[in-house]
Point group: C2
Chain length 413, copies 2
């Protein structure tokens, strides 16, 4: 069989498995070390009682013939779609129809699958640093060349996210745009923790309209926004329905990293250009993709996700987010006291810190693991511009966060 | 944005949504009709008590910080992978390693995603009739032209599955092979209910070796095989590890159509040809695809799937399968008594019947719905060679199956 040749362009390992490998090797060689993991952005608090109750009830439904659920609608059950629509959109004055919401088993899958709607030669723009799935899924689909010595893939348009632009790069100038078809934007941002303002997002929507480009807006961390003036949805921006899709996830909002549920909003106003220049509906295309290659998220999981929107669910998951954000504050302030320049952590569960001068991201990773027994994520794992930075996650127990800050204070005193 | 042009080659609706639409329209116009659904192959028995217990226990684990599970291994938890390996393979004398098993959220997803490993111009062979996902996912990826008047997609190699060959077409002759890269084989077959013998499968493995082709073996219905002499896994055939991947599902085996779990076996012996003629490992490629675009099946679901392999789980799910197979016997015999020529239903939950002379599959569908208030699946929905056939599923209550047979006897008397 002739294989897809583009997989060979990807470097050896996905970032997190590589981190796992190094941590396991270190732990095996130093069994006495109490390693604290602030690397992979994985939640640590248990599921909220409202969610647990709903999942038990759903399991019981599956035990009786009268209430058993087989194949559900691929797009998600009405009870969940309507809860999403009402709470996340209608109540905020945002127009989203039920058949524009596609429930999935998580945003990683949606991120990876969405590129199937793009032409094979579509030009993709990403921020740098960036969540690796946006890049890797387009590399696998053949939209890039093999990476250069700088780690960049020819054919991708990179938008440097730097301290100078607050890690929120503006739209590329017309002359630089190279006919960009798609841009991936993540706000609040993974990995930098930066959040886009209404003005910044408005500029992107205007740019996308002008250039007939698609914005893939990843709002997986919207629940961490602390300031109501900041946009939680790109559809708060007038005109965004014509140029954007939006990804949301229950992973970080409600502790679903091991439960698996997210959703993608694809407005029916959104059009792309077909082979003959005709305008095609991305909603219809995604619906076709979703019904052909996916069979719906687990019923028990969807019942759990719907419980997030109950009064108890909202209160309980809100308290978890407040807990993680207090962790973020403790980390931020502890790092700053230890002399680090830190970003993020105010509307996102990630702290983005500058590594000491002359220390690469991976060197800092190895040093922090060895000296402080702390695991973080090397910034260079998110792209060349992430070199010289390091991500710490606020997902952990308070005791571990306090201990991490104490170790940092000691090691970097 | 320039869109993937190949989606436009697909006809309007995926088969089952179209059936749903017609049934809803009929039910709305005839609210008094008691419609019995034997169309979509969806289970009706509730989950077995062993599975229910395991899922409740898993939900409880998610409620406590000490036992909470966040991101799991993308490939599946060891407890499930080892249960699969031991029960489905090792105990049957089949060599499969743990890192050759990839747990997923179901075979529909695996069927749709697997083609990402193939070259863009790989030549795909399918039986006709066939499970639509094999075809549609390759159409979307641009491996075909637009369909002709006969519904066939230029570029695909169709292998007619007819009464004459027992609905198990042999490998194409060398001169007809057109350099086939991949063939999809499903046994026990959806939709025909046919099952391949050891000799037939051995011939396919030999052909694949000779032509350096990949066999995608879909064994989603293996639990319905009643004769131990028939192969349940392609890896029972010597040499298959070098030419085949195998899909398995808990959907029909344990009632997981709404729970969502399956797995794909990709042997490490399997090689394909890269762009430069080098040999590449499909196991490594699938591992990369799985870790990059998927985040593991839900923990609660994986615990439920593992319970299928406990003594209670095996006994309880075995009893369900026996129940459905008794339904199949009742349907088969009732249809035969009513004068129909019937196939399948002996090692599969599907009956494949010939529609009366001069009646198309969709005409028979509409007539059966109107006269007997029974829903089946038109054979032509599975491919041009399915015209003149009709699929009935054995998934229903005994009362409904008895009633269906009584209505058929009356209508076709």
């Amino acid at each position: 069989m002739r294989a897809n040749p583009h997989f060979q362009k990807l470097p050896a390992g996905y970032l997190f498995p590589e981190i796992g490998r190094r941590v396991r090797a270190y732990a095996a060689a130093h069994p006495e070390a109490k390693v604290i993991r602030l690397g992979i952005g994985d939640v640590t608090e248990p599921l909220a009682p409202a969610i647990i109750g709903a999942m038990h009830a759903a399991v019981d439904e599956m035990a009786a013939r009268e209430t058993f659920k087989g194949y559900g609608p691929e797009q998600g059950y009405d009870f969940l779609v309507e809860a999403i629509r009402e709470h996340d959109y209608t109540r905020r004055g945002i127009e989203v129809a039920a058949d524009e919401i596609f429930v999935s088993d998580g945003s990683k899958c949606d991120s990876g699958n969405l590129q199937e709607l793009f032409a094979a030669d579509a030009v993709i723009a990403v921020t740098d640093p960036v969540y690796p799935v946006y890049v890797d899924s387009n590399v696998m689909a053949g939209r890039t060349g093999a990476p250069g010595a700088d780690g960049r893939f020819p054919g991708l348009v990179y938008l440097p996210a730097t301290a100078a632009n607050g890690f929120c790069p503006p739209p590329p100038e017309t002359t630089d745009a190279r006919g960009v078809d798609v841009v991936y934007l993540c706000s609040p941002n993974n990995p930098t923790g930066a959040v886009m303002t209404r003005e910044q997002l408005t500029a992107w929507v205007a740019w996308a309209k002008q250039h007939d480009a698609l914005i893939v807006f990843d709002a997986a961390y919207e629940a961490y926004i602390q300031d109501d003036a900041l946009p939680r949805s790109i559809f708060e921006i007038p005109g965004a329905r014509e140029v954007a899709v939006e990804m949301r996830s229950f992973s970080k909002r409600a502790g679903f990293t091991g439960v698996r549920c997210g959703f993608l909003v694809v407005p029916k106003d959104l059009r792309a250009t077909g082979a003959g220049g005709e305008r095609v509906s991305l909603n219809a295309m995604w619906s076709r993709r979703h019904t052909t290659k996916f069979n719906g998220a687990s019923y028990v999981v969807q019942r759990g996700a719907a419980a997030v929107y109950t009064p108890d669910g909202l209160a309980q998951t809100g308290a978890q987010i407040a807990f993680y954000m207090e962790n973020a504050r403790i980390l931020r302030e502890g790092l700053a006291r230890a002399g680090f320049t830190v970003y993020g952590g105010q509307h996102a569960p990630y702290i983005w810190l500058e590594t000491p001068k002359g220390t690469t991201s991976w060197q800092f990773f190895d040093g922090l693991l060895d000296k402080a027994h702390l695991v973080g994520t090397p910034g260079s794992g998110f792209g060349p511009q992430g070199e010289g930075y390091f991500r710490l996650s606020a997902f952990n127990s308070r005791a571990n966060v306090d201990e991490a800050v104490a170790r940092i204070a000691k090691v970097f005193a």
